[in-house]
């Protein structure tokens, strides 16, 4: 036990040292001013937004770097990397940046129109609401009933180990910031989370870094079911991927807010603010939502069904699961549940 713990710590430590690694870098040259964006969203997803933004602001050249959410965190927190805007799906890490004084406050008409729950301290601005969903492979599922809630899912997995053994996928929460966020929110929202994790562990669940790969594997038949997949990505893939289906749980759906933040070391603060305004007003650009598959934060709060859809609240509560001891405890439980051999 103690060795496992030590090993895990070493892995985390190692991940932190080599943390800041840019996966992709794209540049959109235009006018004089430079806006450097560090984002967790794939360039292919964000490309329409950047082009639409540059149509409105032709003077702004943009560099768009993509990195994992933990990499983004350490880039800003530890290395003080020079970026003007940080866009991340890891709400907890964005909150920590704002809480620890590594973000600049920004106010504008556009940010004032965002609902209360979509911004924090005028520093973190949520601009999309993306649910965590289940993606299933129609062929492998066959006649099985689609699970409508977590209890039904547990039952289904228990009853059909033949179908689901090594055919379930979920985030490796040790690697994926978003996976960790969804997992911790699940553990907070339902008692059955740990039972579900244990059941999935018994069925040799495969662990993934990213939603994209999980969806691909479901599509190819490698996986029968993927749990806690980013719904926006899955829906975007539905169009050109036959044979998969997206299921939203009926007990509750965690909704992640993709958020933007101006780091304290930003140079092009004005341009970053213009990008935040543009993102905050995405609800008025249905064309962009369609192109990117990113559902914008609806500006009228009544749009969300509070009973089922639970937007993860920005605020100090998110710092709890970033606590090193809490994270350590959570990961230990998770590892012991998922990896039972």
């Amino acid at each position: 036990m103690r060795h496992a713990c030590l090993a895990l710590l070493l892995i985390l430590q190692a991940a932190r040292v080599m943390a800041f690694e840019i996966e992709e870098s794209h540049s959109y040259p235009a006018g004089e001013s430079q806006l450097r964006i560090l984002s967790t969203a794939d360039q292919s997803v964000f490309d329409p937004i950047i082009r639409a933004f540059q149509t409105e602001h032709p003077a702004i050249s943009i560099t768009y770097d993509v990195a994992g959410s933990t990499a983004v965190m350490s880039a800003i927190l530890d290395e003080g990397a020079a970026y003007d805007l940080v866009i991340s799906s890891a709400m907890d890490l964005q909150t920590k940046l704002a809480n620890d004084g590594l973000a600049l406050a920004y106010r504008s008409e556009a940010t004032a129109r965002l609902p209360d729950w979509a911004s924090w301290r005028d520093m973190v601005f949520g601009f999309t609401q993306e649910p965590a969903v289940i993606v299933v492979n129609n062929r492998l599922f066959g006649d099985l009933p689609l699970p409508q809630n977590r209890a039904a899912l547990i039952e289904l997995l228990r009853d059909h180990p033949d179908i689901f053994r090594r055919r379930i996928g979920t985030y490796d929460v040790r690697v994926s910031g978003l996976g960790y966020l969804f997992a911790t929110q699940d553990s907070r929202n339902t008692e059955s989370y740990w039972r579900l994790t244990e059941v999935m562990g018994r069925l040799d669940t495969r662990l993934y870094c990213c939603s994209g790969e999980m969806i691909s594997d479901v599509a190819s038949g490698e996986l029968a079911l993927a749990y806690n997949v980013l719904g926006s990505y899955a829906r975007a893939r539905l169009r050109d991927t036959p044979g998969i289906r997206v299921v939203e749980m009926e007990d509750f759906v965690s909704v992640m807010l993709r958020s933007a933040l101006i780091p304290a070391g930003a140079d092009a603060v004005e341009e970053a603010g213009q990008m935040i305004d543009f993102l905050a007003a995405m609800a008025e650009r249905p064309d962009l939502a369609a192109l990117t598959g990113l559902p914008p934060v609806s500006l009228d709060a009544s749009g969300t069904d509070e009973r089922v859809l639970r937007p993860i609240r920005l605020g100090p509560g998110l710092l709890v699961f970033l606590d090193r001891m809490r994270r350590d405890t959570f990961l230990r439980s998770w590892v012991s549940s998922v990896k039972q051999q």
Partner: protein, 458 residues
């Protein structure tokens, strides 16, 4: 009200407003103090609850102290405001988890109660609390301190909102209180102004005691006023009595002297003696006349101050005076022609004064008219009643006209005629007392002058 005169109401309002201002400021300070304390207390309570819930989540496992920070411990700090949140869990002086550079709140130690402190950390002012626990791990007592801290931006926002509200309420209170003070002062002074009104409304001769209800504070003033008025009434009565008395005392002996002189005159045979007696009789006449005029003047002055008006027919007045003075005029073959209009006229006035005035004008006219001349007395009136007396005497020098109504002032061309210079003064005073005027003009029909008494009629 004369400006600059001290006003009770202004003083009252100013003092009440000052009190209201002091109360407003006191209210403002009290509200801000109490509410400020309350909000600070609220933040302290939430901080203490947060730290306590973290402390309650401490446990020991395999000889080590561990903590599973409850989600609510930090999320509760985000419910009221969007303040930055820091925490630090220390076991026996070693950081267990949290922000390891977050300082310990300094305060009285040794107690198990939470200790609060305010300090600066990462560029912000923080309110911090430390809660202590003793835990047993590996059979060793372990001393655990849980520090939770929060920035004070929400507190400042609330406190500035309280300040704004307290200011608004204080100002509103002041304005309302001042308005009420003005109203109260007005109300309190109402008996005074009622008394003043009652005094102003009184007729000039009304010296009855004040019967209007006066508040206790005004009773001495009203009492003083009443006693003053009764004394004044008595004094006025005495003056009037004195004038009447004096008239009798002076005129009666003079009349006796004149009668005796006339008797002696008839008995004298020497022309120089008769001449001397005639002069004596003239002097007595003049003295009698002057005494009469002086008394008339005194009477006019006295009565003008408090006119006793009634409806008077000016035609009767003129007829009466012409009848009385007709014999005197007849002695010198002076004819008085009285021309009265058909329509009756009425004057609101003091009949004694009016008679005095008219008699003095006609008397003057007779006195300065040469023998065998005419005096025309006429009256006309629409709106005003004009009584005109035209003689054919020597008239007035233009330069004299303005000053003739002055007391003891006489025309520059009358040195040879004995006179007191009071006649036109009396007329002028009576005219003024009745709201009328005295007009003096040359006679348009030749020599002489026309004196017109103009009075408003009703």
């Amino acid at each position: 009200m004369k400006t600059g005169a001290p006003s009770i109401r202004r003083r009252l309002v100013l003092q009440l407003a000052l009190v209201a201002a002091l109360l407003s400021v006191a209210f403002f300070l009290a509200v801000r103090g109490v509410a400020g304390n309350a909000t600070e207390q609220t933040q302290d309570n939430i901080l203490a609850a947060s730290a306590t819930s973290i402390a309650d989540a401490l446990y020991s496992e395999s000889g080590a102290v561990r903590v599973e920070i409850p989600y609510s411990a930090l999320s509760m700090l985000g419910t009221v405001s969007e303040d930055r949140v820091f925490y630090h869990v220390i076991v026996d002086g070693e950081t267990l988890t949290g922000y390891d550079d977050l300082p310990l709140p300094q305060g009285r130690s040794g107690s198990r109660a939470p200790v609060f402190d305010t300090y600066s950390y990462r560029g912000d002012s923080l309110r911090a609390v430390v809660v202590t626990r003793t835990l047993t791990a590996a059979n060793q007592p372990r001393f655990v301190q849980v520090v939770v801290a929060q920035t004070r931006l929400g507190l400042e926002a609330i406190s500035s909102r309280i300040t704004t509200t307290a200011t608004a309420v204080g100002v509103a209170f002041f304005l309302v209180a001042t308005a009420l003070s003005a109203f109260a002062a007005q109300n309190a002074l109402r008996p005074l102004s009622r008394l003043a009104d009652a005094m102003a409304r009184r007729g000039p001769k009304d010296l009855r005691p004040v019967s209007a209800e006066a508040p206790a504070e005004l009773a001495p003033l009203v009492g003083g006023l009443n006693s003053f008025m009764s004394r004044l009434g008595a004094a006025l009565g005495r003056s009037e009595d004195l004038i009447v008395e004096a008239a009798h005392r002076v005129r009666t002996p003079l009349a006796t002297v004149r009668t005796q002189a006339e008797v002696v005159h008839l008995q004298m045979e020497k022309p120089e003696n008769r001449q001397a007696l005639r002069q004596m009789i003239r002097a007595v006449d003049e003295s009698s006349r002057s005494a009469g005029q002086l008394l008339d003047h005194a009477m006019v002055t006295l009565r003008s101050d408090h006119l006793e008006t009634e409806k008077v027919d000016p035609a009767d007045l003129l007829r009466d005076v012409v009848d009385r003075l007709g014999p005197t005029a007849g002695l010198r073959d002076i004819a008085i022609h009285l021309e009265l209009p058909d329509a009756p006229l009425r004057i609101e006035g003091d009949p004694i004064l009016l008679q005095n005035a008219v008699r003095n004008i006609l008397d003057n006219a007779i006195k300065y008219s040469p023998a065998e001349t005419d005096i025309r007395v006429s009256m006309e009136g629409t709106g005003t009643c004009r009584m005109t007396f035209c003689d054919q005497g020597r008239g007035f020098e233009a330069a004299d006209i303005m000053r003739l109504p002055d007391r003891f002032s006489r025309g520059s061309n009358v040195g040879d005629v004995v006179g007191s210079g009071l006649g036109l003064t009396i007329v002028s005073d009576v005219a003024r007392a009745h709201g009328g005027t005295l007009e003096i003009a040359p006679n348009p029909e030749g020599a002489g002058a026309c004196v017109t008494l103009v009075l408003p009629c009703c």
